[in-house]
Amino acid sequence: MQITVKVNGTAHSADVEPRLLLVHLLRERLRLTGTHIGCDTTSCGACTVLLDGVPIKSCTYLAVQADGHDVQTVEGLLENGQPSPIQAAFKEEHGLQCGFCTPGMMLAAKALLAENPDPSEEEVRWALSGNLCRCTGYVNIVRAVRAAAAATRDAERAPVGQEVSA
């Protein structure tokens, strides 16, 4: 079946079997291997991507369902070639150890911050509750998301004349 999916801003056409999962399309066809397969049973959130801006588990979504839709993966987080505030904050706050859950964590965080620019610790924990981490214990992840929120708010308050991304 012929499908066209916009991934990180670029339209990709592919001929796929209906049973192909979105995560397979991303990893095996498009070689976007930042989207990880963890549990493969809709539990861990390592495969989280944004579908039209909404975080979903790409191991539990068919590639054919994504036809005509917009997908963002961790590879699309860079802003003008630079780490986005979320990526920078995960680095600064040590929000990762092995890094396996990190792409999913950052995308779930991005969706949260798009709706709520100043989430409480409780709200961050709630929003990330579909994403499992097995090494940092979440404390630094939550801290990173709140730091990214603060950095984004600061950037938006930047003085006139300084370039600000929309």
């Binding site: 049973r19 493969d40 539990t60 369902q65 579909g130």
Partner: protein, 293 residues
Amino acid sequence: MLPPPFDYLAPRTLDEALDHLAEHGDEAKVLAGGQSLIPVLKLRFGAPQWLVDINRIGGLGEIAEDADHLRIGALVRHRDAERSRLLREGYPTMAAAAPQVSDPLVRNLGTVCGSLAHADPAGDWGAVMLALDAELVARSRAGSRVIAAGDFFDGPFTTALRPDELLVEVRVPRRPGAGGAYLKLERKVGDFATAAVAVRVSMTDGRIGDAGIGLTAVGPSNLKATEAEAALAGAEPSDEAFREAAELAARAASPSADTRGSADYKRNVVRVFTERGLRQSVAMAAAAGGPGG
């Protein structure tokens, strides 16, 4: 894990979808949110030849209120229920349950109607709809029929839906001033319930006018605690009445021991949650202060 091979149909209209179901019968499954169906396929619990994806059909994603009912369309996601002002303001049992379904990522795709049609005995919405005496609207090429929630669940993953029918809508009776609760015990976020209890209460002149109680994960399907409901009708809202109803609800449960707990433990959770849910619901209905009903 890839699902087994299937043919994929993506109708643009409800009529087209119903034609596919009429043609393929029980060789076809409806794909809505896919958060149960796709795992079922991947784990080889099912291998339908056809998937009928209803996501491209317009008009199925609405939560709307008419004179008598709240109507929830086939493509209303758990996320939509969780964020609905209508639910928050007028349907406290549903409002309490919505954010407790699975985890946020699953709620972004999974649907209320899909969860009901899947009929997992540990599903949350089934208990809620039993407590609320909801009606499920099944559509086929032959027309529509309305199935009471109490007649919908036949057993594990088995419902009154025929293979050619699509669950297009669930209708929840309007009950202004009603109180409600959904209490769920889970080992961790996203896990199925160890046990859960859905409660609703309407007050009339300071007495319990009408109550509904639905149970999750303590039987071969979601269960309606009808004896507890009957005992509450017209009762004085007292500790004794709550305890008696909780005892009857616990007796209605027929849990199995598994990794989440022993049968006795789960039955006791039902007892405690029913009592607690009633207390919360009565307080909520009393605070609403309307004439009840």
